[in-house]
């Protein structure tokens, strides 16, 4: 097994789209386990960085209960919402929805909740990696790939290396700015799949994109169902 510093040493090369790094991890006899160790280290570091950022965000922003109180008082008096007439109560009631504020509390936690949330980061990263790798392996095999599952797992674990850019102290919640990191990970996954299965360019492209699209559609459906449930609760 490679030592942790050697695994971490792969990160700069993966960030700069050096395709040979995926061939190196593919050649390891237990590439899947090496990948899982790498993700555990990365996930733990991300969890710690996220907890620190959440504590800083908590210290520099008002309490959510105060924000909720002000919004509940002030939203109904906004001229725009008063002009909406009968449909005006909807935005106000939505702003008072307990589901919305529970989700907001999860995204902007207190220090204790941030610490409690810490194990969820490596666990979530691990499960997402496993699910995506299985889908990608199936897609690559259907498109003519010849790689082992272990090689796919190892290479796709390394493709998560761009998330290491989130290990910056004092980084606020990025919101849509995460899109850049996600795009970087997607490009790295393309290289990983191409190396793991020896696929030519366009086949590797579709083997990368199809699982990402499937995950995106499922996530959008889940968010949509949650929003509809919140709206139904409001009514």
């Amino acid at each position: 097994m490679l030592p942790i510093p050697a695994l971490v040493g792969f990160v700069p090369r993966a960030l700069l789209f050096d395709g040979d790094v995926y061939l190196e991890i593919k050649s390891r006899p237990r590439a899947g386990r090496e990948g899982a160790r790498f993700l555990l280290v990365l996930g733990t570091a991300l969890g710690l960085a996220g907890t620190l950022s959440a504590i800083v965000a908590w210290a520099t922003t008002p309490d959510l209960a105060d924000v909720r109180r002000v919004l509940a008082q002030e939203l109904a008096t906004l001229p725009l919402l008063q002009r909406l007439g009968p449909s005006a109560p909807q935005p106000v009631a939505l702003a008072a929805s307990p589901w919305l504020w529970a989700a907001a509390r999860w995204l902007f936690p207190t220090p204790l909740l941030a610490l409690a949330r810490l194990p969820a980061v490596p666990a979530g990263l691990f499960l997402a990696w496993l699910a995506h790798s299985l889908l990608a392996h199936v897609a690559a095999c259907l498109l003519g790939g010849r790689g082992r599952l272990s090689a796919t797992l190892g290479c796709l674990a390394l493709a998560e290396a761009p998330r290491a850019l989130l290990l910056v102290p004092l980084l606020p919640p990025l919101g849509l700015a995460h899109f850049g990191i996600w795009a970087w990970v997607l490009a790295a996954r393309f290289q990983a799949i191409r190396a793991a299965h020896a696929l030519e360019g366009w086949r590797a492209f579709w083997a990368t994109l199809l699982p990402a699209l499937a995950s995106g559609v499922l996530s959008a459906l889940a968010v949509g169902v949650a929003l509809l449930a919140a709206l139904a609760g409001v009514r």
């Binding site: 789209f17 908590w58 520099t60 922003t61 008002p62 606020p172 990191i181």
Partner: protein, 236 residues
């Protein structure tokens, strides 16, 4: 260092040889370093101004009043009816008032410490915001370039295209009175021209195909947006 600066200056003037020399010397790592440095430089200037304006409450209130007055003035030249103009101005004032009430709420670190830390965080997040625009767009352009016959590698194309950010080092000059408002449109156009030349040189495509690869994602996005707005206007 001096050599890299000379290459960067050549790239800012859209010299094809500069992009070729950049590829063999600094490459993607250099491109990312330039992107990071320029983003942090511009964002630091903005963060200092943002933090100062929040620390001086009177300045913040007067800048919000000025924003409402400016909207009122600009709307007076628009074709909108008077009651709609008044409604837009009143709503902006009400939203800014709501924002003021939310910002006045107490916070654990106190207002001064919070504004200073938030200013630093805003500066730190600037490279990520620039990355969120540049990288996905460049990946799509790269895919299109490959489809149009390019044989270039991803690190080559990304490393050269990142140099589009060079003119944006002048963005803090937008705060100057007089020519200030013209600075950002100028640096944006200059940056786009550098981007197009960088893609052409790095991908090895001829000018028309390189331009197609660069412009097609924007054209598709604009068409889809206009279509979505039209459908929404018809439905609602």
């Amino acid at each position: 260092m001096r050599g890299l600066l000379a290459i960067a200056w050549g790239a800012a003037r859209r010299e094809p040889g500069a992009f070729v020399r950049w590829r063999s010397s600094a490459g993607l790592a250099g491109g990312l370093a330039v992107l990071l440095a320029v983003s942090l430089f511009v964002a630091s200037a903005d963060a200092v101004i943002w933090t100062r304006s929040h620390l001086e409450l009177r300045t913040l209130c007067s800048s919000r009043d000025q924003l409402v007055e400016r909207l009122c003035d600009e709307l007076s030249y628009s074709p909108f009816p008077t009651d709609l103009q008044q409604s837009l101005t009143t709503n902006l004032a009400a939203l800014l008032e709501l924002q003021s009430r939310l910002e006045a709420l107490p916070r654990p670190l106190g207002h001064q410490g919070s504004w200073m830390l938030q200013g630093a965080s805003r500066a730190l997040s600037a490279p990520y915001r620039r990355l969120a625009v540049w990288l996905p767009y460049s990946l799509i352009v790269f895919a299109l370039a490959r489809a149009l016959g390019s044989r270039a590698g991803l690190p080559q194309v990304l490393g050269a295209s990142a140099l589009y950010v060079l003119p944006h080092i002048l963005d803090p000059l937008r705060l100057l009175p007089g020519p200030g408002p013209a600075i950002v449109p100028l640096t944006t156009i200059w940056g786009a021209a550098i981007y197009a030349r960088a893609i052409q040189v790095a991908s090895g495509l001829d000018a028309p195909r390189a331009l197609l690869a660069v412009l097609l994602p924007t054209l598709v996005a604009v068409t889809v947006s206009v279509g979505a707005v039209s459908v929404a206007a018809v439905v609602f």
